[in-house]
């Protein structure tokens, strides 16, 4: 249940973010033509660094004539035919809204997980001190819920009949999940039987 709770909160966050994204108009230019050319002084014989020229133009106009020449015209004075073949122009596009939403979402999820990790490490042991240490129960199918868990497995869990209380159910699911993770940890970090 911890998973679904997490998933639900993530869902809300993502809905919220996407609303933000829709209402905040794209403030950033998402299309560009980028031309990389030598320094205009190249035509005068001295070799130098590359220069970058960026402009937002239509894809069909993404070439040296439309992007670079207007900016460097005074420097090369009629030797355009020599200069332009040395330029490389590329049309690029991006979606800055997607980037924003994705990056913020990643930051959110990581912070949520860190907070939850801190909670599990610090607070949870204090809260759960009274509860007895549950023994491990073999992983069952994700679909099979607690009700249909099959007997015969060692440590048939929870003889105490919990009332169909939401809080209890959540706690029960969380316990089940925790036991599974604990078993995974034992396999990998202690017994080294897997994923070495």
């Amino acid at each position: 249940m911890a998973t679904s709770r997490m998933a639900r909160s993530l869902l809300y966050i993502s809905i919220f973010l996407s609303f933000c994204a829709v209402y905040v108009k794209a403030e950033y230019e998402d299309k560009r033509c980028i031309c990389v050319c030598p320094d205009p002084s190249v035509v005068n014989g001295t070799k130098s660094n590359r220069m970058v020229y960026k402009d937002a133009v239509a894809p069909s106009k993404c070439d040296c004539d439309n992007v670079v020449l207007p900016k460097v015209a005074p420097d090369i004075r009629g030797r355009e035919r020599e200069f332009c073949p040395r330029c490389e122009c590329k049309y690029e596009s991006r979606n800055s809204t997607t980037i924003k939403v994705v990056v913020i979402l990643v930051i959110w999820i990581i912070s949520l997980l860190v907070v939850y990790m801190a909670f599990l490490l610090c607070l949870d042991p204090l809260l759960n001190k009274r509860r007895s240490q549950p023994s491990y129960q073999e992983h069952t199918n994700e679909e099979e819920e607690a009700g249909s868990v099959v007997g015969g497995a060692p440590g048939m869990a929870h003889p105490l009949p919990l009332r169909p209380n939401v809080l209890n159910r959540v706690g029960h699911q969380q316990d089940k999940w925790k036991r599974q993770v604990q078993e995974q940890r034992r396999n990998i970090y202690d017994r080294h039987t897997m994923l070495n």
């Binding site: 998933a7 950033y28 230019e29 560009r32 990389v36 030598p38 190249v42 035509v43 014989g45 070799k47 660094n49 590359r50 220069m51 970058v52 020229y53 960026k54 937002a56 900016k71 020599e82 073949p85 330029c87 490389e88 690029e92 596009s93 991006r94 979606n95 800055s96 997607t98 980037i99 924003k100 994705v102 990056v103 913020i104 979402l105 990643v106 999820i109 990581i110 997980l113 860190v114 990790m117 599990l120 073999e138 992983h139 069952t140 199918n141 994700e142 249909s148 099959v150 007997g151 015969g152 599974q180 993770v181 995974q184 990998i188 970090y189 080294h192 039987t193 897997m194 994923l195 070495n196």
Partner: protein, 834 residues
């Protein structure tokens, strides 16, 4: 890899299917008892089609008396039909025998029985076809059933594409965070930050919008002080990301660590690892990948993407009971998901399908091939529309070559293949040695500390060298690309005359910049080789494709520069005369980098076809298939000569996963009798079909831990009736106790189709529904070669051994694997198995 004949029951030489022999075999003392079974055997001899009619014929044998107490059992509301049960709802027996939900599932770390699952699916399918005529709703349901496979892989494609796009964007932003930040829009990486700045000076995409860490703290952007601040920030961020990744993995989903491909291979071959493809693993692996790549560790996100795609496939398959409830069918979806993973990792849909076929999958029928094709297409389309790199391509290092290659270049290509094979083999050996050391020594006790230590070392050594400082994907892109006008790296510092007129870039002598770059690249190569050995196997999500590609690309680029200079200085040589004498640039070092990358990756993973297709989908040109093929083939030959298995198989062996490799041949002369359990002086546990009480059965279940029991006619005769799995037996007994009145310890457990007519005593427990009536049997003189072949091709879980028609013993997959290990003089106990 090959499709298995599904109608095995007709094809196999099952002694039980020859009723005429049966009479000759029958024991004189048990003649009476066997009269009835012999009829039943005949009916099951009708073969597969006879299966569901069988129970309809049986009422002839059935006694008129039915147990009213049994009818009080609540009707089961399951939506599928259990295996051995009849599929006909109007069946008379259905009212007497209850169905047991949950039959046909498996426990953790068990191997699946493909035959049984496929038979179960066939039953379910037949049931749906039969019911289709009944109502419009059933007709819709059958339609939904028919297309659910396609819908499922479509959804897998969509979700995997979206997740891959998220990971790409997140990783590119986070790895630039180590260098600086974009204050006006913190979610942009360096290139996005300078997207439309008007500055024209070219300095590695730098612009005033982007603030490096020294600038953020008000320091000058240049100078020794700035260098030290940048260095410290680089290390600190790397440590933060790596320790976060390791902690998240340890805390929430330990199964998310590593590459995942060895485990996926094992799972696809029919093994159950519960939780390995779960929700938490998906979430943590995706995030852990972003963090680990951003930490600058020598690892890639391509292998883990296969695992992530398989997690998505597994989670989505639960929405379709046809796949979610049937492990063998689920593996069809997982095979398609593996293809999707590679498709989005490399932007190579066809390469992904071939990867699934060649490397990942075990059972790959044409149907799965088409679904993989479709899913890979969908995923590539989704990723393309997200456009994570802003270059209209699915990978960062997409390059386009147009130059033809000349014949003499085949020699260096093959040389690259040889180098790749040697490096690959060395890498596998060293990495396995290190992983074994980690497994057995004290080092394994401190997984997080190890991650932090390796990160610290990597970041400390990587920063001074500009080629290791940048992201590995960027490095590969740099090495793959040609030296054009746009390339300002010192790698392209040739003594070219820029003033001459509009000619193409010509071949030129290397300038001092190239020489410096060659030295730095050589150092980077050594660093990458060493550090990757220690990185692969850390307890964070880590893939192997990108580091291997980087190593190979460095080697290839170095060889390419050498060839280029050789051609420049010896333009009069006959081999170069045709193409290079005109001053045209006839050698492309970028192409060498690509061939070298393919060679090393081929040496590490031992893939062939899929690797070549992936590489040429990366370049978008079919012209370079022959060079790539030559290099990959040479690499595979050299690799196979020095070490038998690729890195994934080596890790499967290291972990002892129960993977029955279909590549290797079994060439020993042992017989089934030598492998069979019980061996000498061991007892053999069987159930009898109509003479054991519930108490006896429960005692047997308590005292033994076998995963299944053969059912025989009687202890004296040992004639085989069928096979029942332990898990199914447990479920059935528990539910019968709960749901049926009158079941006590003394109740007889009946596996027969009918109840003998005057029945005394407590009501019997009828378990024919869970009985597998068509277990595969062999004789004790069958050569193990045949047995191993049967296990591989039919996907068996166990086979029963008979002698003179009587049950003698059992061979399980575990026994076969242990036997193979034993013959190869390895430790047979290392097989991970329950």
């Amino acid at each position: 890899m090959e499709s298995r004949p599904l109608t095995h029951r007709g094809a196999m030489n099952n002694p039980l299917m020859r009723p005429p022999n049966y009479q000759a075999l029958s024991h004189p003392t048990t003649q009476q008892q066997q009269q009835q079974p012999s009829v039943r055997y005949q009916s099951s001899a009708n073969g597969v089609q006879g299966k569901d009619e069988e129970e309809e014929e049986d009422p002839i044998l059935d006694s008129p008396i039915s147990y009213n107490t049994m009818e009080s059992a609540p009707p089961s509301n399951q939506s599928y039909v259990s295996f051995a049960g009849g599929s006909v709802a109007t069946n008379i027996l259905d009212s007497e025998e209850q169905e047991f939900p949950g039959i046909g599932q498996y426990d953790d770390f068990h191997t699946i029985d493909w035959q049984r699952d496929v038979a179960r699916d066939r039953m379910r399918h037949r049931h749906i076809i039969k019911k289709r005529e009944d109502s419009i709703w059933d007709w819709i349901k059958s339609g939904h059933d028919a297309w659910s496979g396609w819908v499922c892989v479509f959804m897998v494609g969509v979700f995997a594409g979206a997740v891959a796009g998220t990971i790409d964007i997140g990783a590119s932003w986070m790895s630039d965070l180590r260098f600086g930040i974009c204050p006006e829009a913190f979610w942009f990486n360096q290139e996005q930050c300078c997207w439309s700045s008007n500055e024209t000076f070219y300095d590695r995409d730098n612009c005033s919008n982007w603030k490096s860490w020294p600038q953020v703290f008000g320091h000058e952007p240049e100078g020794a002080g700035a260098y030290i601040i940048s260095y410290i920030f680089y290390i600190l961020w790397s440590l933060l990301f790596a320790s976060l990744a390791a902690s998240l993995v340890m805390m929430f989903a330990p199964y998310a660590c590593g590459s995942g491909i060895p485990e996926i291979k094992t799972i696809l071959s029919g093994f159950i690892i519960r939780g390995y493809l779960g929700k938490w693993t998906l979430l943590i692996k995706s995030l852990g990948m972003v963090l680990a790549v951003s930490a600058g560790l020598s690892l890639g996100k391509e292998g883990p993407l296969v695992h992530v795609a398989c997690c998505i496939g597994n989670i989505l398959s639960y929405m379709f009971p046809k796949y979610g409830r049937n492990e063998a069918k689920k593996r069809e979806i997982l095979s398609a998901a593996a293809a999707v993973g590679v498709s989005v990792a490399f932007g190579a849909p066809i390469g992904g399908v071939l990867f699934s076929l060649e490397e990942a999958s075990y059972y790959f029928p044409l149907k799965t091939l088409w679904r993989s094709f479709f899913a890979a297409l969908v995923a590539a389309f989704v990723l393309r529309s997200i456009n994570p790199f802003g270059n209209e391509h699915l990978v960062l290092f997409y390059v386009e070559y147009s130059k033809p290659w000349i014949f003499i270049e085949l020699l260096p290509f093959i040389l690259l293949g040889v180098i790749g094979g040697i490096i690959g083999t060395l890498f596998i050996k060293l990495n396995i040695k290190w992983c074994r050391y980690r497994k057995t020594s004290l080092l394994g006790q401190y997984p997080r500390l190890e991650v932090v230590a390796v990160t610290l070392l990597t970041a400390f050594v990587a920063y001074p060298n500009p080629y290791t400082r940048i992201n590995t994907s960027n490095l590969i892109y740099l090495l793959f690309s040609q030296c054009g006008v746009a390339n300002n790296d010192s790698l392209c510092d040739y003594q070219r005359n820029f003033t001459s007129a509009n000619t193409a870039i010509e071949i030129a002598a290397a300038g001092p910049g190239v020489l410096k770059a060659v030295w730095l690249l050589a150092l980077a190569l050594v660093f990458k080789c060493v550090v990757t050995v220690f990185t692969f196997g850390l307890k964070v999500p880590c893939g192997l494709f990108i580091p291997s590609l980087a190593m190979g690309a460095i080697i290839g680029r170095l060889v390419g520069i050498g060839m280029e200079q050789l051609a420049y200085h010896n333009q009069d040589w006959a081999v170069f005369a045709g193409e290079c004498s005109t001053g045209e640039n006839c050698i492309t070092p970028g192409l060498y980098a690509m061939v070298g990358a393919a060679a090393v990756l081929g040496g590490v993973t031992r893939m062939t076809v899929s690797l070549v297709v992936i590489m040429f989908e990366l370049t978008g040109g079919v012209r370079y298939i022959v060079p790539l093929m030559a290099a990959v083939m040479a690499s595979k030959w050299i690799g196979d000569a020095f070490g038998k298995e690729g890195i994934y198989d080596a890790h499967i062996i290291l972990n002892g996963y129960p993977f029955l490799d279909s590549k290797e041949e079994f060439s020993h002369t042992t017989l089934a009798h030598d492998v069979m359990k019980p061996g000498k002086s061991e007892s053999f546990y069987v159930l009898t079909q109509d003479s054991m009480s519930l108490e006896d059965v429960e005692q047997l279940l308590r005292e033994t831990d076998h995963n299944g029991f053969p059912v025989v006619v009687s202890r004296q005769s040992q004639y085989l009736v069928g096979f029942v799995a332990r898990r199914d037996l447990n479920i059935a007994i528990n539910q019968a106790k709960k749901n049926t009145e009158g079941i006590v310890g003394d109740s007889t457990v009946l596996f027969t189709a009918s109840v003998p007519s005057p029945w005394m005593g407590p009501p019997p427990l009828r378990l024919r529904k869970i009985l597998d009536l068509a277990p595969i049997t062999i004789t004790d003189q069958t050569p193990m070669e045949t047995v191993v072949d049967m296990f591989r091709k039919l996907g068996l879980r166990q086979t029963l051994v008979t002698h003179n028609g009587r049950l003698l013993g059992i061979i399980t997959k575990k026994d076969v694997l242990r036997h193979i290990k034993f013959l190869e003089s390895e430790d047979p106990e290392s097989v991970l198995f329950n």
